[in-house]
Symmetry: C2
């Protein structure tokens, strides 16, 4: 079942205003959420809308937050999201980073008291419009076990970095710091297939290839999979994301990060407020003239894209290529939704009197 | 064969002054180089000394560089290393980042016209002494193939991030963005053993477990190993390091990075000057009071170190634990060197009249 961008946009906007979001907030949040559907990160798009609404119903998301800067220096700030949608808090914080960079060369913003912020890449790409490099990190509910740990202590804690070019489209990396994202497990579960090695461990902490491993109390594994394949590096990256996002800002970190799902309660003894994000913006002309930088980026991209491919592969991709190509297709041909998502959104719409 | 820290320090200092380094430069470079030997990154310590000397003999390292800031904003700078030893250029640039951070909250320095800078972690840790988070990146000679590429286009491009704590020792991540470092291949070669999967591809671009794969014209693989295990993420990370280090500064990037070994000539048509580094320093009290931050870091570290381990493993490690423990041992009991390294240093000393 395929829906046009406009259909999903209008429904999402309708739902968000229905739960009390001011119109400007609802507009921003809708754009962020839908960018996931357009770019093929289906698990972070409208499929999550009813999850956000359930958190609001439980009083765990504030539809009318007073988002503000609580501390700052020339190149840094801390933002308190007042329990708002991460989809609204994150664009506010990224804008603060961009404004700092205009004056100080770079801007770095750590955010507390927020919620899930959609896809990391959306926020990083905002900086590119200003000839800046954008960086976007967030922590998330614990689903990942550090190397040698039986316990889940980290989220999938993504890293996104977006870098402007001239004639070439921008370089946009957007990756979970795990071997595979949770969304890929769900696809394998539906098909009844096993995972490759290095994706999952079971609840005893042993490697498994069961796509139900995480559901059954196990954990996702850090990028690398096991020690021999460098999982200590994925673990370190996920940890850095957690610390920049939450220990710097005063949000919850590690196993204390509140769950996204409304049926699980947050830890009764939190170490901070809500979940945390971290944003960076670096003006490229704070280092060298922007046209020089961008023309060398074009050269970098052309050289890598033109590299001789390995047997059986057509070409070398630049980070961001697949998502950008899919975005163009889906904007034109529509966004496919899975049946359970359609059912979920239909029920949600009926419950709140918003037509899906 | 084991040598005391003092023996190796005095020899290294003697050699560096012999080739014309000013005493303060030689002292700094010695400290940086030896920190690799102390921390167990043997491939980046005194084992490289004769390599640096051969580059100097070829006129590719300047022993008396005029290192300077060529461009700056309140939170950024570009440093021109004037072809000096990276072991001297990098500490200069990190100090610029720290001074910027004192005033602007953070400091970010991209470096061109440099050479190999030793271990990434040494430079990141410098910031910790000032209650700052330190970041250290560098590009390097191309040995790594991007996902789907037959060609080597990236170096092992490490990422180091050092974060201060209070009673706990600092968190220090220091990792190549490949599945395994080149040094590990050399150990397997000597033992005549194969590598695990996901470390290396052969010169045709096919996966191999030959420890000679890179020597024979193949390549190291980005962290993840193959697409199914997330190698596109390791490739993206290595690319980000390359772009921050060299496209921002005006150094050589990708396949144009000059080789470390003197018997290979640099590209006759370079796209920039020398190799590039990137450093960051963020004052933790540019976000929240330093004592608050550091006490939460203690809590973070204790919780992770105390996590229940997986079967067969004793405990969960914090990034930096193994290197710090080894440093204490080697400072006391001495630094073991392999026979070929001893032979190489002995010959080097004889050639220059410096006693090893």
């Amino acid at each position: 079942m395929t829906y046009s961008y406009e259909q999903l946009r209008d429904f999402t906007f309708g739902m968000l205003t229905k739960i009390g979001c001011p119109e400007d907030h609802a507009k921003t949040a809708t754009e962020v959420l839908l960018s996931a559907d357009l770019r093929g990160v289906d698990s972070h798009g409208v499929a999550r809308l009813s999850g956000y609404v359930r958190l609001w119903e439980k009083g765990r998301i504030n539809a009318t937050p007073n988002i503000k800067v609580t501390y700052e220096t020339p190149s840094t700030a801390v933002v308190d999201g007042d329990g708002g949608l991460g989809l609204v808090v994150a664009p506010f914080a990224m804008q603060v980073a961009i404004e700092k960079a205009k004056v100080a060369g770079t801007g770095w913003v750590s955010v507390k008291n927020s919620n899930h912020y959609g896809i990391a890449g959306y926020h990083a790409m905002k900086a590119v419009e200003h000839d800046m490099i954008g960086i976007s990190l967030t922590n998330a509910s614990p689903l990942v076990s550090p190397t040698f740990s039986k316990e889940r202590l980290l989220g999938t804690n993504p890293i996104s970095v977006a870098i402007p070019a001239d004639k070439q489209p921008p370089f946009v990396a957007d990756m979970a710091t795990t071997t595979a994202a949770n969304g890929k497990l769900e696809i394998l579960q539906r098909k009844g297939l096993d995972t490759p090695t290095g994706w999952v461990q079971d609840k005893e902490g042993n490697p498994t290839t069961s796509a139900n491993g995480v559901k059954d109390g196990g954990a996702l594994l850090p990028l690398g999979g096991d020690r021999e394949h460098g999982s200590h590096k994925g673990y370190a990256l996920g940890s850095i994301v957690d610390i920049f996002s939450a220990v710097l800002s005063g949000a919850n970190y590690g196993p204390w990060v509140p769950p996204f799902v409304a049926f699980l309660e947050p830890d009764p003894n939190p170490v901070g407020k809500g979940i945390g994000h971290f944003f960076g913006a670096m003006r490229v002309d704070a280092f060298r003239p922007a046209d020089e930088f961008k023309s060398h980026m074009d050269n970098w991209i052309s050289r890598f894209r033109g590299a001789k491919p390995t047997p059986g592969n057509e070409k070398v991709l630049i980070p961001g290529d697949p998502e950008r190509e899919l975005e163009a297709v889906r904007m034109k041909e529509g966004i496919p939704l899975l049946e359970p998502v359609v059912k979920d959104l239909t029920e949600l719409g009926e419950r709140f009197g918003v037509k899906f």
